[in-house]
């Protein structure tokens, strides 16, 4: 009996571990959230058109939706373009410090060095470091963007400034699970941001529903078998025949095993079902809530951002 339980527990643990493994990455979070993705795409588009203020708002709103570290790069680069290198430095440093092994370390270090150079160049003589950068830039008029050659691509080649932005789901390519892209977004990719995602979400919802149903059936089977097993006690007291009692005992043990299996498999399926349903339904709900909030406030620009409070 102990062996059975051990086996069932191990199986259940394995299933649950799989559930843990299915937890999405930060990159996936924005890529799977149509609202976040749209904001990022919008920000990239605005960035390309050198509408840095609007781009900054878009990236910030995307970040409020999903705290994806890659978005810090976009915000940092936008701030850099807005000639606010001190703020950009803060964000690049935050990007590097937030993750133990950030996927775009080299590129961001490059951006950081660039921002530091600009900060040093624009600082009054005798002042060094990034923290001394005036924070008044937030309220002041935005300077004209620097020349395109000041932006660096991840490869270190001088690229147009808009090529060094983080895109959670670059066009034409499916994002790797743990590898968010630093690439240029195209307007075409903005047009249909979430259609494949919706299909996947639907699939998750269906799978989740089936798993949940099967899980409930499994647990009910477990409960039924347990009830039959409980009735064995009454049956035992109704006969004095040893062989009949042994048969009842054998049947009760089979019921016990079936009941345990029912509980274990049922519970695992219920968890799997809930997780799958959460994948399928939760982003949609988030999206709907966000739209509702926007509608209540009258304008998307009225949404407040709290962005670490450093700028």
């Amino acid at each position: 009996m102990l062996r059975y339980r051990l086996l069932i527990s191990c199986s259940t643990l394995s299933v649950l571990l799989l559930c843990f493994l299915e937890v999405p990455t930060h990159a996936d979070l924005c890529a799977r959230d149509a609202g976040c993705l749209r904001l990022v795409r919008m920000g990239i588009s605005q960035y390309q058109k050198q509408q840095y203020e609007q781009a900054l708002v878009s990236f910030k709103r995307a970040y409020v939706r999903r705290q994806v570290p890659g978005l810090l790069i976009n915000i940092g680069r936008t701030l850099h373009q807005m000639n606010r290198p001190a703020d950009a430095i803060t964000l690049f440093e935050r990007y590097l410090s937030e993750q133990p092994d950030p996927p775009h370390r080299e590129q961001v270090q490059h951006f950081l060095a660039e921002a530091q150079t600009r900060a040093a160049a624009s600082a009054p003589e005798g002042q060094t470091g990034t923290t001394e950068q005036p924070a008044t830039a937030e309220a002041g008029p935005y300077p004209q963007p620097p020349a395109a050659t000041t932006a660096l691509s991840p490869t270190g080649i001088h690229d147009p400034p808009d090529s060094a932005l983080y895109d959670p789901a670059p066009a034409g390519r499916r994002p790797a699970k743990n590898a968010p892209q630093l690439s240029l977004s195209t307007p075409e990719s903005d047009a249909k941001p979430a259609k494949p995602k919706r299909v996947i979400r639907k699939a998750w919802t269906i799978v989740g529903g089936i798993a949940l149903g099967l899980g409930v059936a499994g647990v009910l089977t477990g409960v039924s078998c347990y009830a039959v097993e409980l009735s064995a006690k009454d049956q035992l007291s109704q006969t004095d025949n040893e062989f009949e009692k042994l048969a009842i005992l054998g049947s009760a043990q089979t019921m016990n095993t079936t009941s345990l299996a029912g509980y274990a498999v049922g519970s695992a399926l219920i968890v799997t079902g809930i997780v799958s349903l959460a994948y399928g339904i939760y982003p949609t709900l988030r999206e709907r809530w966000a739209h509702r909030r926007v509608a209540i406030n009258g304008s998307s620009h009225a949404i407040e951002f709290t962005f670490g409070g450093t700028y």
Partner: protein, 478 residues
């Protein structure tokens, strides 16, 4: 997400704990309440309160080849015997037969005798039968030795189609066993003759005509054997008993108070003749009847012809007990003690079991020897896998009898005769395999069966007790 998983794990752990139902009822026998009929329940190794001896203590003895364990591929035959009666000699005959047959089986695995002592409780015969069928996969049963036990195991025999071969169950009721309204054939074999033959013989022991001034008492054991035999006597006798008494026989020990009570009732009625039909505890009944006046004649059936009765003999010839024993006479099934087959059997028995009583002490030693041989011949004749049904079919080939069903039909050239004995086993197997219409030449005489399984014909003797030689004197009744 993690919360959900943790919650599930906790639920699982709790549900696993809740699953742990302890289906136990006892630690010792004293924890078990009495059964609905007041009988005692026993605590088994699985801690269940059950009626009868726990199965782990039943049928523990397996005999195949003397001194060695039964090979795993051996063919299992059950033996239902009682340690409290006279079955020791019957069991000795079974073992002798098994040993001889295994020594002469040229093909196929050896036979293994799974011996069950069914005397401890009234439930043990049926339990042992169930155990033999379900766990030991026996192909046939030797025994039971009493008619009561035959009826006890009857449902299991019918349900599982496992044939039995009883060497000493004589109740005429066995011939009438039915499955509902259907006659049951080829299952209840017995090489002991039915008491339909013995009833009239016992009645003949009374004087004819019975003096009108004399009284007759009939005492019988209240079981299937006693009931049937007393009915047969009353049906055959012109004189109906003036007093009829019965007593019960508990399975594991005699109820001496009950026996004393009926003996006293007989003494008070002052009969001139007493017919006593006894079973397991004949010695206790004989001892109780010693209080009757010496003028009272006592006639007994085969129960009185028991080695236990001989143990009552005192050293002094004129001891009142010896005088009492000398006035007892009776009838019993007899063996053909002058035949070569019997002589060979008796010699082998004495060599094999030198410390036991003489095989002549009980007629059933020869019947038991024939029983094991007929079953072994049937098993040996089966060419493929041995099954209970095939054993039944082969046993039913020993069916050559005269149309009046009083004796077996033996062809002049004896081509249809199968002889019992170690040296004749292989030839016998060939005959049973090849043909039907056979008769067996056994230690108990010529042997053949009706379609139901009853022995055709019978050989009886009139016996008395020889207190000087501590034996029974007997003469054949023609």
């Amino acid at each position: 997400m993690r919360f959900l998983c943790t919650l599930t794990l906790i639920t699982l752990a709790v549900s696993s704990c809740s699953q742990d139902i302890h289906l136990t009822e006892c630690e010792t026998h004293s924890d078990c309440p009495p059964a609905a009929d007041g009988s005692m329940l026993f605590c088994t190794s699985k801690k269940l309160c059950v009626i009868g001896t726990p199965s782990e203590r039943l049928c523990k003895d397996v005999f195949s080849i003397s001194g060695g364990p039964a090979p795993p591929d051996s063919i299992a035959i059950g033996a239902l015997v009682t340690s409290s009666g006279d079955d020791r000699l019957i069991l000795d005959s079974f073992k002798l037969g098994i040993e001889q047959i295994n020594a002469h089986r040229t093909s196929g695995p050896p036979l293994a005798l799974h011996i069950c002592d069914i005397s401890a409780t009234a439930a043990d015969p049926l339990k042992s039968m169930q155990l033999l069928v379900t766990q030991r996969n026996v192909v046939a049963i030797l025994g039971p030795t009493s008619s009561r036990d035959v009826f006890a195991i009857m449902p299991e025999v019918i349900n599982n189609h496992v044939p039995i071969m009883s060497p000493s169950a004589t109740s005429p009721k066995i011939s009438e066993i039915k499955d509902g309204t259907q006659t049951v054939d080829r299952l209840f074999f017995r090489d002991a003759p039915s008491d339909t033959y013995q009833g009239p013989l016992l009645a003949q022991q009374l004087p004819h005509p019975f003096p009108s001034t004399e009284r007759l008492a009939l005492l019988y054991v209240d079981d299937e054997y006693g009931m049937a035999l007393q009915q047969a006597i009353r049906a055959a006798s012109l004189k109906q008993p003036d007093i009829i008494l019965s007593y019960l026989e508990p399975t594991n020990s005699p109820d001496e108070a009950e026996i004393q009570r009926v003996a006293e009732a007989i003494r008070v009625s002052q009969p001139d003749y007493v017919i006593a039909i006894t079973n397991l505890y004949s010695d206790t009944v004989v001892k109780a009847l010693a209080s009757l006046p010496m003028s009272t004649k006592i006639i007994m059936a085969e129960g009185g012809r028991s080695p236990n009765v001989l143990n009552l003999i005192k050293p002094d010839h004129d001891d009142p007990m010896n005088q009492h024993l000398r006035r007892i006479s009776g009838t019993a099934p007899a063996a053909d003690t002058k035949s070569t087959v019997y002589q060979d059997f008796a010699n082998a028995f004495k060599i094999k079991w030198p410390r036991d009583s003489e095989p002549e002490t009980s007629p059933y030693t020869a019947y038991a020897y024939d029983a094991v041989y007929t079953v072994a011949l049937a098993i040996g004749a089966i060419e493929n896998e041995v099954t209970p049904t095939q054993v039944s079919q082969m046993l039913s080939r020993m069916n050559s009898y005269e149309t009046d069903q009083r004796r077996c039909h033996i062809e002049p050239d004896r081509k249809n005769v199968v002889e019992v004995g170690a040296m004749k086993y292989s030839i016998g197997v060939e005959k049973v395999r090849d043909q039907s219409g056979l008769a067996v030449d056994g230690a108990s005489g010529s042997l053949c069966f009706t379609p139901h399984g009853d022995r055709v014909g019978a050989r009886y003797e009139r016996w008395t007790i020889n207190t000087d030689q501590r034996s029974f004197d007997s003469e054949l009744i023609e």
